[in-house]
């Protein structure tokens, strides 16, 4: 199953939208950098029900509190997610 990684703010660009349009059941979603704003935003984008992660450091840097449905992870857990999934798809710019 795919690990999708998004780094763009939900309204700033199309990365999250494009990602969700290519999301299959069982895939995982990781929000990094400016994408962490999607982790507690009003629901412009309907995020999947589970397997949604966000880099804790990136959220903390921006003063973003994660919604309950989003799991905060550190870099070590990110590496583990990469080991557990294939392929890894980055959505950026």
């Amino acid at each position: 199953m795919t690990l999708h990684i998004v780094n763009q703010s939900p309204l700033g660009g199309s990365a999250l939208h494009d990602c969700l349009a290519s999301f299959a059941e069982g895939d995982a979603l990781l929000l990094i950098e400016d994408a962490v704003y999607a982790a507690n935003a009003p629901t412009h984008h309907k995020l999947p029900q589970d397997k949604i992660y966000a880099l804790a450091a990136d959220a903390q840097a921006r003063g973003v509190t994660l919604a309950q449905s989003v799991t905060a992870i550190d870099e070590a857990a990110w590496v583990d997610l990469c080991v557990a999934h294939t392929p890894i798809v980055s959505w950026f710019r």
Binding site: N7, Q8, S9, L11, G12, E33, D34, Y37, N40, A41, P42, H44, A56, A57, D58, Q60, A61, R62, G63, V64
Partner: protein, 119 residues
């Protein structure tokens, strides 16, 4: 008479450098006595949130923001709709020494300036 200048800040902090370099340019203008008006709109309103970027080894952009009043920038204009769209409670926005001015009609505000710097 010198032109009136508006600085338009529409990018989120940290993801790319435009937010930081925008704030640096604003302070440089003010230091030259070309005090710009400042408007945060779109993702730029995220710059007004409290931040803790030491988590990603970055300097806080809030410090640049907080320096504005010392440089004579006493009003921070914020697009009300942009903040609401992003779930940001506008009554929670604060900046010591400056007044946060919420704008409902940014178009009417922008057209009164001679020059606009976009960041």
């Amino acid at each position: 008479m010198a032109n009136s200048i508006l600085a338009l800040c529409r990018h989120a902090p940290y993801g790319n450098t435009l937010a930081r370099e925008g704030l640096e340019a604003i302070l440089a203008c003010a230091a030259m006595d070309q005090i710009p008006a400042v408007l945060f709109t779109g993702d730029g309103v995220y710059q007004l949130l409290e931040q803790a970027p030491e988590a990603i080894n970055e300097k806080s952009l809030r410090r640049n923001l907080q320096a504005m009043p010392m440089f004579g920038i006493e009003h921070i204009h914020v697009c009300e709709k942009s903040a609401e769209t992003r779930g940001i409670a506008t009554d929670a926005l604060q900046l010591a020494g400056a007044e946060i001015v919420l704008l409902a009609d940014t178009g009417a505000f922008i057209r009164d300036f001679d020059q606009v710097l976009s960041f």
